[in-house]
């Protein structure tokens, strides 16, 4: 075989081919056409691991594409991906299983008064499939001469002393017992002058880097879990809903004022492509019910009279689950000395950094924007890579990202501290609020039960089947229980192993009395388990590249 060791080196390595990572690569290629850029992703194909609502603000995407692909608006792909422009913005409060109260006028009023949650208006934004958006951007990137390689899972940043020199990939070809098979390939170390971490929420490489490089968060990261189904409906139902509509619903079935439950989050209904509606449920991971499963809430939401009219009789054609980083500006990991988001030649972007604006409940525009800022920082630090993270941080601080993230910085923590009933109104005070100390999500677990559990057990098998998730079966499980004794002696008697209930893919089962990741090949890579296990006893690691869900229209 040819000697291609030179191909193990690259000037700029981007970990994660999502909107943030691809934006970095594209913007940088515009600024410095001669530089070699490589984007890797653990998914089998572009867009396979991307899931979002998704509402996308127009500006950052337009800025990026105007530079990277002039005339992009007239392409067939743009017309397909950006077909839905939001013209009807419903925000509902659901008091129970039947009623629905439109509260959009209040939001509008709040906006008029300059209050925080007045930002939750999406008129004129796109509602998109992020899988499709990503696939499209990846194609443009490749056309620009950027190497976008899917099927490669990164494991950790490699250091030489204090300096980051590259990224090591996951070993491949190890069998279940941990022995090397004849086709074993040791994970290569990709040498890179710049490393861009754009892995999405709770990135494996990012979190290991944060720990190793000593980055700190002022406030712990908080998470939500979103589960989403794409449902094929009748043309009548679709036309009744209309293509440009998005619905956000609060209240039932995750929050009701007197009897509970009391969880943060809500349901969504967005229009997808013709005759397809996306229905989802997003719930803050600080829920306290040991038997809660987000999919149960989704079932209740779909049964709600308002939602049911649009989807009754429909077929779920695709589904998936993903976490959302909700901690906001104070939960962005920074170097304690320089305050840089990342360190030296390593930058942290998008959802990996936590640039989700909880007042807008949007982060996609910030992810793209952070990619643009990172590209500018790299372009300005070619002679001194170690200055990149600080330059990137300075760019972010001056960008719209910082401006809007600061406005929203106390919202989620306030809700976490006081609960939705008091927290939401309190948050009206916006950025004047003091910083509240909050606990990590997993510490909130109690022995209480979710009151509205449906009679039927949710069919997780069909859910994972339409998520098209698959892994090579003969590899060691990528979900590690740190101490199995804790499951047995502490968790099972007290909480009855919540992982079995909350894992949306049904990975966890109690077999012969021992809770364990019995079906790792069903994993959807949402990582809820490592953030919600009440004993912080689960670690998600990266399986062989190419494994995981295969989203196409999420």
């Amino acid at each position: 075989m040819a000697n291609y060791s030179e191909y193990g080196k690259v000037s700029v390595l981007v970990v994660g081919a999502g909107p943030a990572g691809l934006s970095t690569a594209m913007q940088l290629k515009v600024l410095k056409p001669e530089i070699d850029i490589c984007v890797i992703d653990k998914a089998l194909d572009l867009g396979n691991h991307n899931l979002s609502g998704a509402v996308l603000e127009k500006e950052p995407l337009a800025t990026l594409l105007d530079a990277a692909k002039p005339g992009w608006r007239d392409t067939d792909e743009a017309k397909l991906v950006l077909a839905n422009v939001i013209d009807k913005d419903d925000i509902m409060f659901l008091p129970g299983p039947h009623g629905a109260i439109e509260i959009f006028p209040m939001i509008k009023m709040a906006r008029g008064m300059g209050l925080g949650f007045g930002q939750m208006i999406h008129h004129g934004d796109y509602s998109v499939s992020i899988s499709r958006l990503t696939k499209w951007l990846g194609g443009i990137a490749r056309g620009m001469g950027i190497e976008v390689l899917t099927g490669f899972a990164a494991d950790h940043v490699v250091f030489d002393g204090a300096a980051a020199v590259g990224v090591k990939l996951v070993d491949q070809g190890v069998n279940k017992e941990g022995h090397k098979q004849p086709n074993y390939v040791e994970g290569e170390t990709i040498q890179a002058r710049f490393t861009v971490l754009a892995e999405g929420c709770d990135g494996l490489v990012t979190e290991r880097f944060v720990e190793k490089a000593g980055l700190k968060r002022e406030s712990p990261q908080l998470f939500s879990l979103g589960v989403k189904e794409l449902i094929k409906v009748t043309p009548e139902q679709y036309n009744k809903f209309t293509r440009g509509r998005v619905v956000h619903a609060m209240g039932y079935p995750i929050w009701t004022p007197v009897r509970g439950p009391g969880m943060f989050g809500g349901g969504i209904v967005y229009a997808g492509e013709q005759d397809h509606l996306a229905v989802g449920m997003i719930v803050g991971l600080d829920w306290k019910y040991h038997d809660f499963n987000t999919q149960d809430a989704l079932v209740r939401f779909k049964e709600h009279k308002f939602v049911k009219q649009f989807i009754e009789g429909g077929t779920v054609v695709e589904a998936g689950a993903k976490m959302i980083p909700e901690g906001g500006w104070r939960a962005v990991p920074r170097d304690p000395q320089t305050q840089s988001i990342g360190k030296g030649n390593v930058m942290i972007l998008g959802d990996s950094a936590g640039f989700v604006n909880m007042l807008k409940i949007k982060g996609l525009h910030n992810a793209i924007d952070s990619g643009i800022q990172a590209a500018k920082a790299v372009a300005a630090s070619l002679d001194n890579p170690n200055a990149a993270a600080e330059k990137y941080t300075a760019n972010v601080e001056q960008s719209n990202i910082a401006r809007e993230m600061k406005l929203a910085q106390n919202f989620r923590q306030t809700v976490a501290k006081f609960g939705p009933l008091q927290g939401m109104p309190l948050s009206v005070l916006g950025s004047w609020l003091p910083k509240f100390h909050v606990e990590k999500d997993y510490e909130m677990m109690t022995t209480a039960s979710y009151r509205l559990k449906p009679d039927m057990t949710f069919d997780k098998d069909t859910f994972t089947a339409v998520a098209a998730t698959a892994h090579r079966e003969e590899q060691p499980t990528h979900l590690k229980i740190t101490d199995p004794a804790i499951c047995l002696e502490k968790c099972l008697p007290v909480f009855n192993a919540p992982c079995v209930a909350f894992c949306p893919a049904g990975v966890y089962e109690t077999i012969h009395g021992q809770p364990k990741p019995a079906n790792p090949s069903n994993c959807l890579h949402c990582k809820t388990c490592q953030r919600k296990c009440p004993y912080d006893n689960i670690r998600w690691t990266a399986p062989e590249g190419g494994g995981g869900p295969r989203y196409k229209r999420m």
Binding site: M1, Y4, E147, P182, E188, T464, A465, A468
Partner: protein, 697 residues
């Protein structure tokens, strides 16, 4: 130093096939809706070639990946470069499109000649390695036909290799066991049935692969004589969706309920097979036997049949009785009467065609017999039954071609099963099945007697032999047929054609195929699909000895060892309990399959045999002789119980003829649940003991 040429093919990702991947009208695959991937067995072949290079200790050996396809097929070559290949060759040209297996094998063989002489300059020191078959075609013909074109030995269904005293010894699957063989000399063609360690891409290799040079050749660069649709010996005349499975696919709650259902359906014999094969629109008659000269019930496609029905009605209304006497005026009248759907040219063709009464092919209907240890393979008797039906329609004789060291003693049984003539080819060099020697002997007899139809069983042996014989005799071949019918194509003046119907794309579509440009029509037929006739010992027939000249050079393989399973295994029993990978261990297999087998045997009062999936055999749970499926034995019992078997297509093909299929599996997504009659979702260790207990009540 041996070099390796690996044949790789780009195929639609059939694992991702959903209902909307097919055009509901035509049953054709909407290719744009499916991702393209490398054929899984070719990926294994690439890894196997690298493994061979490694065990031979020859660091300088070169691996060249070769594919033929549209320009986008370069993806599979990049796949190969990123993992193991040193060089790649893409054969792409519009003129090469629309090819059948012959017109695929021929240009590939010519490309191999050019690779070895120009790119590698390796003389005879090379091996061609490919997957056993592709998932879209499933024919397994191309490698064997390449071997035939290049006059090389073909070692098929290989599962392992060792390097001993400067040569490779291959382990391969044969009916009922395994065999270790070596090629007497190189070059040789090797087809891989299973190598479980496909290669992973490296990051650096993947980047290199996008920049590495790629040799691209068009038709003019290889000058192969048989290419494209023109060079093909078969043509697809119709593609249609398979009949909806009549399998019930019903979930059963508990073991007690399942026990009751098993006993009931076994006794009732509610036959899936009978339901699936019942359609029959009367026996085919040659035109001169038909009472009405205009009767054209046996047209190739449904559309043609409709047209002729309409024409017959019009002719009757117009009182026309002799197609020879239709003048221009009559023609105008007919045209006016049939309406606007008929073009003038089409009508002329049809009227001219009606004069044709002479069959397009002549000669006997032949079956190539398979046997081992002096016993005829049961699949051969199924073919003599089918051949009898075809020959009666065509008013010709059934011939059986029987080659071996000493075979005449088997003739009597073949005659009783429907044969008129048994062509016995006996030679000491035919002692063991060596495809090179056998294909020479059988092709020689075909060239001499020129039968109009030749049928082979689609067993591992038949699937190897048939492509070589057909290629050598210049005839088209259709693999794995499940339907064989005599039909006319009157419009083209062709009477009495053999239409060959087979599943394709892993059973997701059916295709009806005809032979063209050939002296004989050849097909392999799936075992277990055709019905054998009750033996009639009173039947009379002839034994015709056919002499062939064979020399030691015709025997190209050295058979080192043959290992057949021990003991008597009767996979033709009325009930079979099979275990798969889900049995976890040999002990579990022994215990659970054993207990259920004896419980069923007692309850049903019949013999119950043990079967296994290929995975279970590979894991060493039980001997190869118990393997059920495409590369094992095809079975058709009244009851088939699958324990911990996922239901891979290769396995399900082998049980298609079963009356009632019952599955127990812990994976709710197991494909077998859609292809069985009753199933229980559960761990076998828990469900089987309960089922056994319930059967004892």
């Amino acid at each position: 130093m041996s070099d390796y040429i690996i044949l790789v093919k780009q195929v639609p990702d059939v694992s991702q096939i959903t209902d909307n991947a097919f055009d509901p009208e035509t049953g054709t695959l909407v290719r744009a809706r499916l991702a393209s991937v490398i054929n899984e067995l070719d990926a294994q072949a690439l890894a196997f070639a690298r493994y061979m290079k490694m065990i031979s200790g020859d660091a300088n050996a070169r691996l060249v990946a070769l594919t033929m396809g549209p320009p986008m097929a370069d993806d599979v070559l990049r796949y190969s470069l990123a993992r193991a290949a040193d060089q790649v060759v893409l054969l792409t040209d519009r003129a090469l499109g629309g090819a059948d297996t012959v017109a695929t094998a021929n240009p590939l063989a010519y490309a191999i000649r050019r690779i070895t002489s120009e790119l590698l300059q390796c003389g005879d020191d090379y091996l061609v390695v490919s997957g056993m078959q592709s998932v879209d075609g499933d024919t397994a013909q191309v490698p064997a036909q390449i071997a035939e074109e290049l006059k090389l030995p073909c070692i098929a269904y290989v599962t392992g290799a060792e390097y001993k005293s400067n040569r490779f010894e291959f382990t391969r699957i044969i009916s009922g066991g395994s065999q270790t063989v070596a090629a007497k000399k190189l070059p040789a063609v090797v087809t891989v049935a299973k190598y479980e360690y496909p290669l992973f891409a490296s990051f650096a290799g993947t980047r290199w692969a996008t920049k590495a040079p790629m040799v691209k050749w068009g038709a003019d660069d290889i000058k192969a004589p048989m290419i494209g649709a023109k060079g093909s010996k078969t043509a697809v005349i119709r593609v249609f969706p398979p009949g909806k499975s009549t399998r019930k696919g019903k979930q059963v709650g508990d073991a007690g309920e399942l026990a009751r259902i098993i006993v009931e359906s076994f006794k009732k014999g509610d036959s899936h097979a009978a339901a699936a094969t019942k359609k029959e629109d009367g026996k085919y008659l040659l035109p001169q036997r038909r009472t009405n000269v205009f009767e054209r019930r046996w047209e190739g496609t449904a559309k043609e049949q409709e047209d002729y029905n309409l024409l017959a009605k019009v002719l009757k209304d117009l009182n026309i009785t002799d197609p020879g006497k239709i003048d221009e005026a009559a023609q105008e009248k007919i045209l006016a009467a049939v309406g606007p759907s008929f073009q003038k040219k089409a009508l002329e063709d049809m009227l001219a065609g009606l004069k044709a009464t002479e069959p397009a092919f002549h000669g006997e209907v032949w079956v190539v017999a398979e046997h081992s240890d002096g016993v005829v393979h049961p699949a051969t008797f199924e073919l003599t039954g089918k051949a009898r039906e075809l020959a009666d329609s065509l008013e010709t004789k059934v011939g059986v071609c029987l080659a071996g060291e000493s075979v005449s003693h088997m003739a009597k049984e073949l005659i009783a099963a429907g044969a008129d003539n048994v062509y016995a080819i006996e030679h000491e060099l035919l002692k063991e099945f060596d495809p090179t020697a056998y294909r020479k002997a059988i092709a020689d007899a075909i060239d001499k007697y020129v039968p109009q139809i030749v049928l082979y069983a689609a067993t591992p042996q038949g699937r190897m032999l048939a492509p070589m014989v057909s290629y050598r005799t210049g005839c088209g071949l259709t693999a794995d047929c499940t339907g064989l019918d005599i039909r006319d194509s009157t419009r083209k003046g062709e009477i009495g054609l053999l239409l060959q119907t087979r599943p394709a794309l892993g059973g997701n579509v059916m295709a009806t195929i005809r032979t063209k440009g050939s002296k004989s029509q050849m097909a392999t037929a799936r075992p277990g699909v055709m019905k054998r006739l009750p033996a009639d010992p009173a039947r009379k027939g002839k034994i015709i000895k056919h002499e062939v000249e064979l020399t030691e050079d015709d025997v190209r393989l050295e058979i080192i060892r043959t290992e057949l399973g021990h003991g008597q295994v009767n996979l033709h029993a009325d009930a079979i309990v099979s275990g798969g990978k889900g049995m976890q261990s040999r002990d579990n297999y022994e215990k659970l399959v054993g207990e259920l087998t004896s419980a069923l045997s007692r309850k049903l009062g019949t013999q119950v045999e043990r079967g296994a999936s290929r995975a279970a055999v590979e894991q060493g749970f039980i001997g190869r002789i118990h393997q059920v499926g495409q590369t094992g034995t095809s079975v058709g019992p009244k009851l088939y119980v699958a324990l911990g078997i996922s239901g891979a297509i290769q396995h399900m093909i082998g049980v298609a003829n079963t009356e009632t299929i019952v599955a127990i599996n812990s994976d709710p997504n197991a494909p077998i649940f859609k292809q069985c009659d009753y199933y229980v979702i559960g761990v076998v260790e828990e469900v089987v003991p309960k089922l056994v207990a319930a059967l004892k009540v």
